[in-house]
Subunit: 342 residues, 2 copies
DNA sequence: TTTCCCACGTTAAACGTTTAACGCGGGAGA
DNA sequence: TCTCCCGCGTTAAACGTTTAACGTGGGAAA
């Protein structure tokens, strides 16, 4: 009978099957030849005792285990959870487990979450930094653990990185709006202290400059913008409102939509809206939202693949992967009503 | 200098600080009095070597560690990720780490994910089952690990459970629709093989019976309904369409909205819509969606608290916690246009 | 019959911690 | 001066695995 109090260990199984612990291990890991009779006895014992190997012990013995640490800024953002879901799928396929930590959007906790993750002695890490100074890099570089930086790129980094083509995708959205006849574009951002956001801004500004459009206005509204930031509502109820808005993240897209709704602006008749990320709800609004679709799945797969290569010992120079976004044109964008210009 | 190849251990620190490993441990865990001079030496060594204790070894030594396993059906559903975010917050406060596994909405993998989680020897588990037979219960009961079942309740269960008042909340939504004058209500569900969904249906049906309304129609559309299930579109383009829809999950709410949009039904003029769960996007649609708000945060907190009590040794009979939902009335519900009845 | 080898099992060490038990030196009380 | 105790550190065992090294018994080749 299994003891209820303590976990049953390989020793209990060995005892029950009348063999040594080494033999049990050999059966479980199928490492050495074990006679059929003994194997059967061991398997029986495992089943009746409900034996499960202890990962901590395995890991301790083997030095490094099949664990990947994933550090994200937040678990409340569908963009991050989608990536996690994708990484989890990759991990399952390759026989890894992932451990997820959330560091918070503001770099407040400092590196405590990273350290917690590292204390698992993971075989590798995938990091989505919450700022682009990425002080954590020094901690990671002090270990020999390979890691991949995803989505938000730090200023400088000795590791593989995977990100989307922020400038190009944002410029493409601006170009599309320009082709519809828009000239006054408002860019709504979380914060310009994030490199990917800055790149998106830069893409739009560069396009406008090149196309002879006025310099677009940029509004920073912070990370918690789902409920519709007051600053934007104010701007939309004022005079000389923009004819098009580009929202640089999914939460901003949502917030912008609420502001437009609150301030009585009609989409797309009064103001056109283009949002980053593409979620199901954007296709269920009326009108559906024109979206810059980030290749979330591809980001997960690529970063996983990079990490696996590094774990396998690849020692080439760090690679910088950039993935293209696609613009999904829907009903929230239309030519501006010329009447409202003057 | 730290060896680059292997992780630095407590022994390296001891060597660098010229003390025994026990002393290092005592400094790190501040267990016994250590003189200031020695403490300083040790802390210096820790800092220069970038020492991080190895969780696997700690856990092995201590038998059971501050880990909670969380098993959810899917990481693609914001309801589950919101709960995870909340549990993570609780865990951080109490000095625990959580390890998340996703089992898939269909009970296909069987119990392999659960076993993977259990092999971490967690101090406790929080489970959101993916079916209500909950075969995993036997595996869990075979261990001495306390666990809490959340959201979807199995047929019978010897553990603490936390769920919402499904019947009452659904009945309340039906009652509200009835008070507006609706008589033909369509219930759209993922699958009736889930207890919480069945309870919601039952609540609506019971109310209709009691209020003398016709028996509401129930449509099962499966788990991946965000894109708008064809069966629903078909029903909405037919004759004798319902005047109100109650969508029993967030994905169904989204899917229903798309179907309504596709089939040219106006919300709320042609059809009223009430949806389960309340996310930011539901307030950004036009009209905003009337929602049955599940107390996600409270579910997380309550289940965490139950688990902590059990871990602390509480051995009373299993408790069944039920939390109330609130109906947030918004623009997607209105009295039916009587003209369309005939 | 002797020798060798092979197939199958076992022994024991090691992984990095924690902690009970022990040692030791010096100050205080007798 | 002798004893005792207390504060500070160390030693060593233990946690559950894996695996290299080591029996051991029997069959085949000589």
């Amino acid at each position: 009978m299994a003891r209820k109090t303590a976990q049953i260990s390989i020793r209990d199984v060995a005892e029950a099957a009348q063999v040594s612990v080494a033999t049990v291990s050999n059966v479980v890991r199928s490492r050495k030849n074990v006679s059929d009779a003994v194997r059967a006895r061991v398997n029986d014992a495992i089943r009746t005792l409900n034996y499960l190997p202890d990962r901590a012990a395995m890991q301790l013995r083997e030095g490094r285990n099949r664990i990947i640490g994933v550090l994200v800024p937040s678990l409340d953002n569908p963009f991050f959870t989608a990536i996690i879901a994708c990484l989890e799928e990759c991990a399952r396929k390759d026989g890894y487990d992932i451990i997820v930590g959330s560091a918070g959007e503001e770099p407040a906790y400092g590196s405590s979450r990273l350290k917690a993750l590292l204390s698992w002695r993971p075989a590798g890490m995938i990091i989505l930094p919450n700022d682009d100074y990425f002080a954590d890099a020094s901690i990671l570089d002090a270990t020999s653990i390979p890691y991949v930086v995803l989505d938000r790129l730090p200023h400088s980094c000795m590791a593989d990185t995977v990100a989307v083509e922020n400038e190009q995708s944002a410029a493409e959205a601006a170009a599309y709006l320009a082709s519809l006849g828009h000239r006054r574009i408002l860019v709504v951002a979380t914060t310009l202290s994030l490199a990917n956001i800055r790149e998106r801004c830069a893409g739009i500004i560069a396009f406008c400059a090149q196309a002879g459009l006025p310099v677009p206005q940029v509004l920073e509204v912070g990370h918690h913008a789902e409920e519709g930031p007051a600053a934007l509502t104010e701007m939309l109820t004022g005079r000389n409102i923009p004819t098009a808005i580009i929202a640089l993240t999914n939460s901003i897209t949502l917030g912008a939509l609420r502001c437009l709704y609150q301030s009585g602006c009609n989409v797309p008749d009064d103001v056109s809206l283009v949002g980053y990320d593409d979620y199901a709800w954007m296709r269920a609004t009326q009108p559906p939202i024109t979206a810059i679709r980030q290749p979330v799945e591809e980001m997960g797969v690529q970063s996983w693949s990079r990490l696996m290569h590094r774990i396998a010992g690849e020692s080439t120079a760090p690679m910088q992967v950039r993935l293209p976004c696609t613009l999904a044109v829907r009903g929230s964008t239309a030519p501006p009503k010329t009447g409202k210009m003057s």
